[in-house]
């Protein structure tokens, strides 16, 4: 592909992945490439990133796409690990499986050693090897076979490697001090996650080589963290999302403070203005205003914490509590088929991890039979905590409205909504899925306005609007 065509296709792919690349930025990027040349791949990456990526959250997508359009090497790479050879001998299935097990085990061992040493070169080789040996998806005929990171990773089972690596880190080595269990687990998880991403990148690269980069970009590059659906996030992504919560809350809070500041410019303070004008010969160059009284909402959050939507509830609660000062009062309740109050479990600035653990525990208190039952939960909430909802409060219900075909008790929700000043329902499912199966989304949606809230971006927008 000619260089300019490649560049255009690359920018197109960035746009398709949600990066808002303007024409002028595109031109800057061309200029940067002209200045830098193509010899140094990392400099090229840096130059393109500086001109095209203006938001750190987009960096992961950028890197994945950069690797596709400007791949470091061709074919099976250094180790020469192409697809495994067709089986020509007549070993029994059991023998083949045995060989495979030994190979997987050897790879795991080398992998955890390389991760322990943080040996980048060796890790790259092992990525090649893992994909080459275990990532092939056989297909009949030319162009139908492919590569899969799922295959490769499932064989290797990264969780085993995490545990093994953690153990090694806890033991320490000659030039490394032993780590505590907590630190060892964290470090191991992060390193293995990094390697997993390498494997995914390598698979994308190989598929791109066979089917074209556009194809891969369309089908496999994950969206940026704030667009990943709560209900489909992977473990590493959930971690990353959790880390985003506080910075997000901080940005949101300062934006709100500014807006309120502007809105709150009260009436003219005559005396202060006159006094200040003395220094300018009686000319009132600056005017002073009285502050306006702030008005704050009392928030009552009622969240479904059953398995399917627990992450969503957790993120929302973390965000709400990180913004606690924005509300005059926050009370939080969790439910599955029973209700528990969790207000005390949250403190502003509390450790998000601990909070999440406590929240998971609360799910036990919130469940009687363990099957989500919105009708029952609403009824229980009204009878035990009904006085939490009053004319000054805003009621926020979080959940997918999937109630196992039980009576939704719309009357109870209507009653609660009538008592509150405002009521909203946030649903983490895409609108297209509402009302499918056991979802009672539009029934509830008729009682209180229901808003689709699938990712951090939508969540932030919503929270901004209600404060």
């Amino acid at each position: 592909m000619a260089l300019l065509d490649r560049h255009i296709a690359f920018v197109e792919a960035l746009r398709a992945a949600g990066l808002p690349v303007s024409l002028s930025e595109d031109l800057d990027a061309v200029e940067a490439v002209t200045q830098l040349g193509l010899a140094d791949r990392e400099a090229l990456r840096a130059g393109l990133a500086a001109t095209l990526v203006k938001r750190e959250g987009h960096r992961t997508s950028f890197d994945a796409l950069f690797d596709l359009w400007f791949p470091p090497l061709l074919g099976a790479g250094v180790g020469g690990h192409g697809a495994p050879p067709e089986d020509e001998d007549d070993r029994t299935a059991e023998q083949v499986a045995q060989v495979l097990r030994t190979e997987v085990e050897a790879l795991r061992q080398e992998l955890s050693q390389a991760l322990q040493d943080e040996d980048a070169d060796r890790l790259r080789e092992l990525t090649q090897e893992a994909v080459g040996r275990f990532g092939a998806m056989p297909g009949r005929g030319q162009g139908l076979s492919s590569w899969s990171s799922y295959n490769a990773l499932q064989r290797i089972d990264p969780d085993t490697v995490v545990l093994r690596l953690a153990r090694a880190l806890m033991a320490g080595s000659d030039d490394r001090r032993p780590l505590s269990e907590e630190l060892a687990m964290r470090t191991a998880t992060r390193r293995v996650e990094g390697w997993r991403r390498q494997v995914e990148g390598e698979v994308r690269r190989r598929v791109a080589e066979e089917k074209g980069a556009e194809h891969v970009a369309r089908t496999t590059v994950r969206p940026s963290v704030d667009r990943i659906p709560f209900t489909a996030a992977r473990r590493g992504e959930i971690e990353e999302m959790r880390r985003q919560i506080y910075p997000l809350a901080r940005r949101l809070a300062s934006r709100l403070a500014k807006e309120q500041h502007a809105r709150r410019r009260g009436p003219l303070d005559f005396r202060r203005t006159v006094r200040a004008s003395v220094s300018t010969g009686g000319v009132p160059l600056t005017t002073h205003h009285r502050p306006r009284r702030p008005h704050r909402t009392e928030l009552v959050v009622l969240c479904d914490v059953s398995g399917s939507v627990a992450n969503f509830a957790a993120f929302t609660l973390l965000l709400v509590y990180a913004l606690q000062e924005q509300f005059s009062k926050v009370r939080a309740f969790t439910f599955v088929d029973d209700v528990a109050e969790v207000t005390g479990e949250f403190r502003a600035g509390a450790d998000p991890e601990e909070t999440l653990t406590r929240l998971t525990e609360s799910a036990r208190h919130a469940s009687l039979w363990g099957r989500t039952d919105y009708g029952r939960a609403l009824r229980e909430f009204r009878s035990r905590f009904g006085d939490a909802v009053g004319p000054r409060s805003s009621l926020l219900v979080l959940g997918d409205a999937r109630s196992n075909y039980t009576d939704p008790r719309l009357d109870v929700l209507r009653d609660l909504a009538d008592r509150a000043r405002h009521a909203w329902w946030l649903n983490p499912e895409a609108t297209a899925q509402w009302d499918t199966g056991d979802s009672a989304a539009s029934q509830y949606g008729e009682v209180v306005p229901m808003v689709e809230c699938r990712n951090l971006a939508q969540l932030t927008a919503f929270v901004h609007d209600i404060v």
Binding site: A46, A49, E56, R190, T280, V283
Partner: protein, 293 residues
């Protein structure tokens, strides 16, 4: 046209010589900012060397640094220019029976103009690095002003006419990302996200800034700091804190970072009591293990 750096490698070398250890991305982006004459927006957590980068570019190129420190409530009068009203009023009172036209022409002249950093940087004829520090602290209106100034590097003063830059300054904007800057500003800038450096580079920074620190102690220190950053703390330790910590240890003549030393000096690195507790608990296992060896 001025050239700032000849190549990314030249940028890396000259920044290094002036005490700033830049990685590939930083050196490349600094080079491009000079070559494309585009403002450079540097974003990242506190204490990773955003401000220092601007200062280092000035040192490395022999340019003068003009700094606009942003804060909430910063306005055009503080950022760009303002008329010296008091002086003007005095002049008007002293004008006697001079015609108003004459007085008007007199009081809107250089003599009564107070130039602020943005105008200063544009009017300078020598090499200049303009640092707009902590731009996320300002209000949106100031961003609009920056946008105007940084687009064509010219300023119109209604009473005096348009001032254009004779020589474009090298502009660095820094931000802690407490809020998202407007798309328009970002479009005009090159963007660099600075993060904590890897262990090797941080060690180099510590060693270069703290005379008398032993190599092994520096290595141990940056390793420990890296661990602390892995814990989710209220305020993760920055490079500045690593350097402070090394200075403290050298001053106390500590040469092994054992449990006692960490316990006694952790306050230099972590400012919140709850962070200290969390860190001590997490480090304890690793220190105990170390003693066993």
């Amino acid at each position: 046209m001025t050239t700032w750096f000849d190549s990314p490698a030249d940028a890396a070398k000259r920044l290094h010589d002036s005490g700033y250890l830049a990685d590939t991305a930083t050196a490349t982006t600094a080079y491009l900012a000079g070559a494309l004459e585009k403002p450079l927006l540097v974003e990242g957590p506190a204490g990773v060397g955003k401000t220092e980068l601007a200062k280092a570019v000035a040192r490395a190129t022999g340019a003068e640094l003009v700094r606009l420190q942003c804060y909430e409530g910063l306005d055009e009068a503080r950022a760009l220019y303002e008329w010296n009203y008091k002086k003007q009023l005095l002049r008007i009172q002293a004008a006697g029976d001079q015609s108003w036209e004459q007085t008007h022409d007199d009081i809107f002249t250089e003599e009564f103009l107070l130039t602020r950093p943005l105008l200063t940087a544009i009017r300078r004829e020598e090499q200049t690095v303009l640092l707009v520090d902590e731009v996320d602290k300002t209000d949106v209106e100031v961003e609009g002003l920056l946008l105007e100034v940084l687009s064509d590097f010219q300023v119109t003063i209604p009473e005096m006419g348009t001032v254009s830059a004779v020589r474009r300054p090298f502009v660095v904007l820094t931000s802690n990302a407490t809020r998202e800057l407007s798309e328009a500003v970002k479009r005009r800038c090159l963007f660099l996200h600075l993060d904590y450096p890897d262990a090797a580079r941080e060690k180099e920074i510590v060693v270069s800034q703290v005379p008398g620190v032993a190599d092994r102690l520096a290595a141990e220190l940056v390793e420990t700091v890296a661990r602390l950053r892995e814990l989710e703390l209220k305020k993760a330790p920055s490079i500045a804190e690593s350097v402070d910590w090394a200075r403290t240890l050298v001053a106390l003549e500590v040469d092994d970072l054992d449990e006692e030393a960490v316990g006694a000096t952790l306050g230099v690195v972590l400012k919140h009591a709850s962070d200290q507790d969390k860190a001590l608990a997490a480090l304890r296992g690793h220190q105990a293990g170390a003693r066993r060896r």
